[in-house]
């Protein structure tokens, strides 16, 4: 299963992972349109945390034990049997925020305007997730891990 791991020592807190996440999850895939025209603006599913001089980039870690799946009220959060990934079905999501309550990384974001949550989907349309591909310092690594 794919997982994005974080090399804390290499992270410079530039925030480009957030920028590319927003663009990849926009309708237009265009930075200007994604940031200035799309309403509601797409959310970054990545969060850069800073505690100077340290910084890290946080996203869903595809936990082996999946508290969000077990807590989900509607069945929107599930484990994909083939890939082992934790997947979120936006159509089934009712925005109850229960998954946010239990996520150890606080990696699930409330998308208040759409009344659903958003989380890292490892960019299903890309070979390498956008945040990893565009990290200038190779602080993010996408690798296969055994579950």
């Amino acid at each position: 299963m794919k997982q994005v791991s974080i090399k804390e020592k290499a992270c410079i807190g530039c925030g480009l992972c957030q920028v590319y996440c927003i663009i990849e999850h926009s309708k237009s895939k265009d930075p200007i349109k994604a940031y200035k025209r799309e309403q509601p603006r797409p959310l970054s599913r990545v969060r850069v945390e800073t505690n100077k001089p340290h910084s890290i980039s946080i996203r869903c870690q595809q936990c082996k034990d999946t508290p969000c799946v077990y807590a989900c009220l509607s069945g929107a959060m599930s484990i994909d049997k083939e890939t082992g990934m934790v997947v979120h079905d936006a159509e089934k999501c009712i925005g109850c925020w229960t998954c946010i309550m239990v996520c150890p990384y606080s990696a699930i974001k409330p998308d208040i305007s759409r009344k659903i949550v958003a989380k890292c989907d490892l960019c299903p349309n890309l070979e390498v997730p956008a945040c990893v591909a565009n990290c200038p310092n190779e602080a993010l690594v996408c690798e296969e891990v055994n579950q």
């Binding site: 090399k7 109850c96 309550m101 990384y105 606080s106």
Partner: protein, 424 residues
């Protein structure tokens, strides 16, 4: 080949099925489910009333769930007796089913006080789909509703009714709504938001009796409050809470307190008999003892643990605590643990209040351990707090930073990050 039998096809029963099948793919698995519907998400009955969900979208698992897990379902049938010696469960038509391992996941029933007039047409409870359907079918011809009970269920229903254009009076006996999970300040914010949405919130008293209509005494026409004031209405919904459905074990040796008492493996005192969900008194990690906690996520997690252990895989229940997330009236709230203790002497309380943004956060610490928190308006970091609390992490070093805007995984000492989180 092990014969598994589960009574109850909701959150707990489904969790158990999934866990059993992870371990044992060949044992026979029977689920008895009283409700005559495919499995669905009970918390979504308010979405059903507001018409934001249909029976199709309410399905908690896909249509093939039972088939894929090789489960024989007895839907719309009720268990009436458990014979622990013969290891048999009897259904209402006399059918007897043998078991090697039994899970009692019968849930709870809505509590209805002895109110005069409670038999009238137009009085509902609100915990399952059939009651939601009955209520929904009345909405077209209704204008006003009185919801008794300002807890989670009452507030969720109130929102659904408001969305359907019904004028709602929400009645709560305590001084504030949601008082079980919130403190006074947070409750007041929630009450203000409800009032702004047109809801009449009455606290500190309750409904004394339900009145009939002038032209038809058998149909709801209004209620009389404790102070004698009459409120005309077409619907009364009792949403006070649930009580465990323990009747199946009442005449047996299964140990009962208010619910069925289970250990950390969801076992009752009787070998091969397990219980989970609203019917069970299971581990509370904050209390470090057993407690009724009728919450959907905990029912599902308890069911999983029961299922693993029934199938022979030793798994311990980490436990839950009072924990709720609310989305109603566009006011996100997450509240966990001991949020409003009577005596504050032993506690350290950290508060952030930004009324202009409708943000209120409060964390309660005891001996440098997080024992409760309320996040209102800004809930994103609630999960980190919950996990620090659940893992009993001493936060002495970082307590000043817990409510800072930059708080996150990065705030935690490196040793802890390595231990609890996969950060390289």
């Amino acid at each position: 080949m092990t014969k598994y039998l589960i009574i109850g096809g909701s959150a707990g029963g489904i969790g158990a099925v999934e866990a059993i099948r992870e371990v044992d793919s060949v044992g026979t698995l029977i689920v008895i489910s009283e409700e005559p519907f495919p499995q669905y998400s009970r918390p979504m009955i308010s979405e059903y009333v507001s018409k934001e969900a249909t029976l199709e979208t309410m399905k908690y698992r896909g249509d093939q769930f039972w088939k894929n897990n090789n489960v024989q379902t007895l839907t719309g049938r009720a268990a009436v007796k458990i014979d622990l010696t013969k290891k048999q469960v009897e259904l209402e038509d006399g059918t007897k089913i043998d078991f090697d391992k039994l899970l009692i996941a019968t849930g709870g029933r809505p509590f209805v006080p002895r109110l005069e007039g409670r038999e009238k047409d137009g009085v509902f409870t609100f915990t399952e789909l059939s009651s939601a359907k009955g209520l929904e079918s009345k909405l077209e011809q209704s204008k006003n509703a009185v919801v008794i009970g300002g807890g989670l269920i009452g507030v969720s229903l109130t929102e659904a009714l408001v969305k359907r254009g019904i004028s709602v009076t929400l009645v709560e006996l305590k001084d504030h709504i949601l008082s079980f999970i919130l403190d006074e300040k947070a409750s007041e914010i929630a009450e203000k938001v409800l009032s702004e949405a047109g809801v009449t919130v009455i606290t500190g008293q309750t409904v004394q009796r339900i009145l009939g209509r002038k032209d038809n005494e058998d149909v709801v026409g209004g209620v009389v409050m404790t102070d004698g004031v009459e409120i005309p209405c077409d619907l009364v919904i009792v949403a006070i809470g649930v009580i465990p459905r323990t009747e199946l074990v009442k005449e047996t040796d299964v140990k009962l307190n208010r619910g069925i008492v289970v250990d950390r493996f969801m076992r009752t005192n009787i070998p091969d008999v397990y219980a989970c969900g609203d019917v069970a008194e299971a581990h509370d990690f904050l209390l470090n003892g057993n407690r009724l906690l009728p919450l959907w996520p905990l029912a599902h997690m308890g069911g999983r643990v029961a299922g693993y252990n029934m199938a022979g895989k030793n798994v311990e229940y980490a436990g839950g605590t009072a924990m709720s997330s609310l989305k109603y009236f566009n006011l996100p709230i997450i509240a966990v643990g001991d949020t409003n203790p009577q005596e504050l002497d032993d506690y350290k309380v950290i508060v952030e209040n930004q009324p202009e943004k409708t943000v209120y956060k409060k964390i309660l610490l005891k001996d440098d351990l997080i024992v409760g928190f309320i996040f209102l308006g800004d809930i994103e970091k609630a999960g980190i707090l919950y996990n620090l609390m659940k893992n009993r992490v001493n936060v002495a070093e970082i307590k000043e930073a817990l409510l800072s805007e930059d708080f996150g995984i990065i705030t935690l000492p490196e040793s802890l990050r390595q231990k609890l989180f996969v950060v390289n």
